[in-house]
Amino acid sequence: MHSSFYENNMDYKSIVNDLPTGLLISDVNHKIILANPKIAQLFCCTVNDMLQQNINEYISTPSHNFANIMAINEKEPNKEWQLTSSTNEIFAATISGKAQYKKEQFTGYIINIQKVPNKYLLINQKYQELQKELDDFSYIISHDLKAPLRAVITLSEWICQDYEAQLDDMGKMQLQLLNDRVRKMHDLIDGVLQYSRIGRWINPSTVIDLSQIIDKVKKELAIPENFTLVVKSDMPQLFADEQRIYEIFFHLVSNAIKHNDKKEPRLYISCEKQANSFYLIFDDNGYGIEERHLDRIFKIFQSIKNDDKNSVGLGLTLATKIVKMYNGKLQLSSVPQKGTIITIELPNKLLQV
């Protein structure tokens, strides 16, 4: 496609390549059929990455798709848009472009993109400051809430012990309920603490052997005897914060064990390497998750079972936050009653070569 476009237009090729602004041409199906080096640079990828992709992959924001942007641009041609590069960096740009017609037939778009200098740096910086502020805030709040709560737990236990003779069954039961609820609250606050901690403190990166991490998780979790955990492929070595990587494996393996009622419960872990990323795959035969719950389980403190004493609803949230911290993605697909596959995509730069 790319070369055929230039077949009769070789003179244009050097003009397009030297353009100081980004240029995109899409076809009637919104597929990108031409991209110049400048635009690839803006999106931190190569021209070939962009070709044949849907234009919405690039020219869109979380709230506006390509068609929305073009419609708004007609009224506000100088509007700045926050676009996202393939390395997840946000930059501001103005977008100008027009639908093209040949004999009154729509043939596609020609789009010109101009980056607004340095704006994305400021936004990114502001975003990171806000994130840090939020993490600090959650940390301080949760830490300070925990102290009085611990006191309530301790005192209610002592009342049960020291005044056992004076309390009737009802009194004991109420104290027990009080104790349960306060403990639950303690676990929740602990969850907020753990969540905020991920963004607040990153240990220096070291070389990590993922097979050893899995062994460590196995020991820590005391895996039930009938549970099969098989590592299906060679596990790579990474250069990252060992504690955080351990937490990803800990939470995902722990979830796989907890949410499984099969006679022969199992979890397969494997790794696949590709050009830019590698994938860690966790494949279990557990309960699975109905599609309508998929959004919910990623949110903090959400679990699907009622009043689940063993689970606060935190593991997946924490794992996702860590993966995002490394510019990765965590995706989940599931068939109810059959099992769940969690795929973590991480950039190859984390691999220790």
Binding site: H143, R150, A151, T154, L155, H186, L193
Partner: protein, 139 residues
């Protein structure tokens, strides 16, 4: 502890946490007197005033008003007179920063206060067991 005449110094501002330690010391039949100060500043004053019988160990909370545990630890460890006293951090903080700072300042241990009193008792019993065997520096 080996020398039951030497006191244990507890540096802790939370009243219920103080009660917890007192109760466990009583139940575990620890003979040493337990002295309590509410923050790092008061604990430093205590050490100045008790130079003739320094505590055999210090149990130290981290989050306290006026002078927190980490500041206290750094003052004590840089003072020739006090730096050999074993200090065990006893805290709710699971923060990596706090552990890191404590061990950098030669803390003798870092214990996270369990939510359960029973578990706390086990923890204190372990501390007791260890320091019943370990020798102290007499000076």
């Amino acid at each position: 502890m080996i020398d039951s005449n030497r006191p244990i110094l507890l540096v802790e501002d939370d009243e219920v946490d103080v009660m917890t330690v007192k109760r466990s010391v009583r139940e575990l039949l620890v003979k040493n007197p337990l002295h309590i100060r509410g923050n790092g500043e008061e604990a430093l004053e205590y050490l100045e005033e008790h130079q003739h019988v320094l505590p055999c160990i210090v149990l130290l909370d981290i989050n306290m008003p006026r002078m927190n545990g980490i500041e206290f630890l750094s003052k004590v460890k840089s003072d020739e007179r006090f730096k050999r006293i074993p200090i065990i951090v006893l805290t709710t903080s699971k923060e990596e920063q706090d552990r890191y700072a404590s061990f950098n300042l030669s803390a003798a241990g870092y214990m996270i206060k369990p939510v359960d009193y029973e578990q706390f008792l086990t923890l204190m019993n372990t501390i007791k067991g260890y320091w019943s065997l370990s020798e102290f520096s007499n000076k």
